[in-house]
């Protein structure tokens, strides 16, 4: 590739008097077939795929089969019928409808060609009218003209597929075997995306891989950390590898906007929405589900945007992402989406609806999966002006049996929070007060794993408190709530099974007047970071929930993002480009010690690379916790070695810098001395530059500030 730097381009533009900022680079297209000797190193095949329909030139032509065979006198009538049907979908070109006639019998041949203005219209017409019943014996079969050509090319005789020799892949999990057990993270700043090791011992990150223009949108790790996904105009791509980041697979999807992995990272959902050709139409939405490893499209969904907006709210805010929510734990067995008065659940063996039909749920507005089990919780608001109560149900998939249901009265809104192991479900219920003028909040707590799923109601001590945030302890039985009305809310911790009270929820502690509005549990539980973002300007409090004590407080001024590393050892706080100043990130230990700070201008993203779940059993983990001292000894020794080595290195470096500086100064001094006479001459012979030549004279000045005469009483008697 020819080396052309941005600076060169700017220089050239300056020479030609072009204002670079006013040039819309996207509008520039090179002439077809001309590449100016610059080979594009990626995405060539995608371009080809794109160009496919353009080159053939018949992408906008469809063939409609199974038409009635009619004599000449009925020809015009049939033509009008067809024209009527197909002009509803798009604009048929002038003379774009052609129905061939058998020259001998003068009858039609039972098919016709229709040419639209755009391939999109043709695509839509095929989708909408394939299988259209004109009458009993005439069911349309619609194909794209280009498809005929494609299918014609299929050889008549079957030849066995060529079996490619097996090439062993790289170990995509290499990063988990790091000697120092470090974690990786990716950052995106300005035009660069970079992957680093977090090296807290060295107090700085270590670069793994760095690439300019790696993505055209954002980067995203797959849920188990195996892949890093990037998005481009032509589609999405995933990257990974043992030591560096190679492109592993591409998923063509023009103008992809959003992507989502299934929890077991078997599948990738890509989403794009397209401007309609006709101003009266709504946006069209395209969703593809790819198999991550093979890159095959498993299923695609296309439709108008209102088909994909959430049922109850009526599609004001557009599509809520992710459209498909994955259920059934890490096996990626089911995915579901909400529609108007229904929830559509698909299974991934055939990528079709379970029982071939959606679940009918009148007026459903929200649902969520248990993170571990194939259970859906769904919420239906009050109907008929309060005659029919609001309802939260748990539904087992694939059987669609209702496991538990709870009716709720005078409800304004519900939010569902699953605990990470799927053991508990908390439903935050906002209810109207009697006057209906205000709302108050309570919680309904479901114990999923217990018999009959008992439900408990929890109300805060002060019922009028607003709930600012709620979060379950990952893998644990505790949860934290930020509540309160004032500028400094309270934070409360509750346990679903405390030592004295195994069957009931109990409060552990309430911390009064905290500068916090968000909760970040450590992924391992036990520790929580109470953060005051936005209005609180980045106040941080590291809290130990086992001991119920604050470990440390800190501040990352203006912080916008906070993320725990997957092991719960470190926390990253970041200021992203929503703020103009202060961009960059800080790394803290879980105890709240600031380890290092990296400023980065135009900072967009900070993401820790996730880890797959631990292979240790909970019992084993418990044992390690108990014998932590034994294990930690080894690491403490290592830590000390490293820190000694570091300070030694540091000392050497400083010495070197000092020596270098001294040699500079020495040289300058010599030159300075050589020029002394010259300088003296320039100053008309007035001594040299030394400071001694002016003498400090001490001058004492006495000033009379005020003169006052006073009569002092003099008592003669006292003299005696």
């Amino acid at each position: 590739m020819a080396e052309v730097s941005m600076a060169d381009i700017e220089a050239t533009a300056l020479r030609l008097g072009i204002d670079i900022s006013s040039v819309d680079l996207d509008s520039i297209q090179r002439p077809p077939g001309e590449d100016f000797g610059i080979k594009s190193d990626d995405d060539e095949d995608l371009y080809q795929e794109d160009g496919f329909e353009m080159e053939a030139g018949f992408g906008n032509v469809i063939v409609v089969d199974n038409l009635p065979v009619v004599p000449p006198e009925k020809f015009e009538k049939l033509e009008n019928v067809i024209r009527k049907i197909y002009s509803q979908i798009g604009v048929i070109r002038d003379g774009g409808l052609w129905m061939p006639v058998n020259p001998e019998s003068q009858k039609t041949l039972g098919y016709c060609f229709i040419e639209y203005n755009t391939p999109q219209e043709a695509e839509l017409a095929k989708e909408k009218t394939n299988g259209y019943k004109l009458d009993k014996s005439h069911i349309f079969i619609v194909n794209l003209f280009d498809d005929f050509e494609k299918y014609m090319k299929v050889p008549d005789e079957w030849t066995p597929a060529e079996i490619k020799p097996y090439v062993p892949g790289e170990n995509l999990h290499q990063w988990l075997t790091d000697e120092k057990a470090r974690d990786q993270f990716v950052i995106r700043a300005a035009t660069f995306s970079e992957v680093f090791w977090n090296d807290p011992r060295q107090m700085m990150p270590e670069l793994v891989y760095r690439r300019q223009y790696w993505t055209e949108g954002f980067v995203q790790w797959s849920p188990l950390g195996t892949y890093l996904a990037t998005v481009h105009r032509q589609g999405a791509a995933v990257w990974g590898g043992a030591t560096t980041f190679n492109r592993l697979m591409r998923y063509p999807h023009p103008q992809v906007k959003l992507i989502d992995f299934s929890p077991g990272e078997k599948y990738l959902v890509t989403y794009s929405s397209h401007e309609p050709n006709n101003p009266r139409d709504t946006h069209r939405v395209v969703l593809n589900i790819f198999d991550v490893r093979t890159g095959k499209v498993m299923r695609d969904f296309k439709g108008n945007v209102d088909e994909f907006t959430t049922g109850g709210s009526g599609g004001v805010s557009g599509v809520s992402w992710p459209v498909f929510r994955w259920g059934g734990g890490k096996e990626d067995k089911y995915f579901a989406r909400i529609g108007k008065n229904m929830i559509s659940v698909y299974e991934t063996e055939t990528f079709t609806l379970i029982d071939k039909k959606s679940m009918k749920v009148e007026s459903v507005v929200d649902f969520s999966w248990s993170p571990t089990d194939p259970i859906i919780s769904l919420f239906v608001p009050e109907l008929g002006g309060g005659n029919q109560p609001a309802r939260v149900s748990l539904v087992q998939i694939p059987g669609k049996e209702e496991l538990r249901q709870k009716n709720l009265f005078s409800v304004s809104d519900c939010k569902m929070y699953w605990q990470g192991n799927g053991e508990y479900l908390a439903v935050k219920v906002d209810r109207y007060t009697k006057t209906k003028k205000s709302t108050y909040t309570g919680f309904e707590l479901f114990r999923i794993k217990e018999r009959d799923i008992p439900i408990e109601v929890l109300e805060l001590e002060n019922k009028n408190d607003k709930i600012v945030a709620f979060a379950w302890e990952p893998k644990g039985h505790r949860f934290a709530v930020i509540h309160g009305d004032g500028p400094r809310p309270d934070v409360s911790f509750y346990s679903m099974r405390s030592a004295q009270n195994t069957g009931r929820v109990s409060k552990l502690v309430t911390l009064k007047s905290k500068q916090a509005n968000t909760l970040y549990w450590s992924p391992g539980g036990r520790f929580i970071l109470l953060a005051g973002l936005k209005g609180f300007n980045g106040q941080l409090e590291f809290y130990n929930v086992d001991e119920l004590e604050t470990m440390a407080t800190g501040e990352h001024f203006m912080a916008t993002d906070i993320e725990w590393d997957p092991t719960g050892r470190y926390v990253a706080t970041a200021v992203t480009s929503v703020h103009e100043m202060e961009n960059g990130f800080h790394i803290w230990s879980f105890t709240g010690k600031l380890l290092y700070r990296i400023p980065k201008d135009h900072f967009y993203q900070f993401l820790w690379r996730p880890r797959p779940p631990s292979l240790l059993t909970p019992e084993k983990e418990e044992e390690i916790w108990k014998n932590l001292k034994k294990y930690s000894k080894k690491y403490e020794a290592e830590d000390q070695d490293v820190s000694l080595q570091l300070s030694e290195q540091d000392r050497k470096k400083r010495k070197l810098l000092q020596e270098e500086w001294d040699s500079w100064v020495e040289k300058w001094k010599r030159l300075h001395d050589e020029e002394r006479e010259m300088r003296q001459w320039l100053r008309d012979g007035e001594a040299s530059d030394e400071e001694e030549e002016y003498e400090a004279k001490e001058v004492e000045v006495e000033e009379v500030l005020d003169v006052k005469e006073e009569v002092v009483p003099f008592d003669l008697d006292q003299m005696e």
Binding site: N537, E580, Q658, W664, V665, K669, H672, M678, L682
Partner: protein, 326 residues
Amino acid sequence: MRPILMKGHERPLTFLKYNREGDLLFSCAKDHTPTVWFADNGERLGTYRGHNGAVWCCDVSRDSMRLITGSADQTVKLWNVQTGAQLYSFNFDSPARAVDFSVGDKLAVISTDPFMGLPSTIQVKCIANDPSEQTGESVLTIKGPQGRINRAVWGPLNKTIISAGEDATIRIWDSETGQLLKESNKETAHQKTVTSLTKSADGSHFLTGSLDKSAKLWDIRTLALIKTYVTERPVNACAMSPILDHVVIGGGQDASHVTTTDRRAGKFEAKFFHKILQEEIGGVKGHFGPINALAFNPDGRSFSSGGEDGYVRLHHFDPDYFNIKM
């Protein structure tokens, strides 16, 4: 020690200069009146009235007899430091930006802004011993750099002139012929406007501050880049301690971008760096706006900062400062 707040200017400060003995401090501001203060206690000694525009820069002669000031009113004026009388006024066709007396105080270098189609210039004037013999002719005029030239100073033995400004490039010119001798390397130099430039006490190296959020230290003879100090905000002003290996950098968010919510957001702090290790030592807070000017007292025991907020803050160092171990 508590800083001394010197309120005498009504508009943002632009420049600060100590005389050689370090007993007087001269301040320039966007109001039209340069002011002289006692550098010890911050008492106002007097003002120099006559300019009709923002005053951008000043310099004082070695014997503290004469002051030269450059102003947006398209003049550069010579003053009697003691009496405040105007001795001479050089007239230009565009605003004057930087002024600097040569060694021996017989020459002065002046930079003028690009204005009404005129390019920016660097001009050298002779300064007569007797003010009555002063003339306005330029000995030398240099043209070439794009945009404003924010600083122009003399190199060793008045043989060279060093200039820096909006085009982010630092240049060394021959002061006899006006020939361009050296230009800073594009790769290593500043990426944005250079806002300030100060020479070290012995004139062997100089420090530049830039809106690219860094300050750089250069060899005055070879224009070799020696050190870079990186901060989080645009640099408007910089200074070097004459006695310790310390560098102080000031600046902050552009005045028009300053948030109204929290003054910590703008980082209106004077930041101290270790000159050799390039590590941050500490910061001095206080201003309510970006810092536009910084100057070290020649004795190294105090420094002053001038802000967009119109205040000059005079800081005498505590004894602890002199015992900082790195």
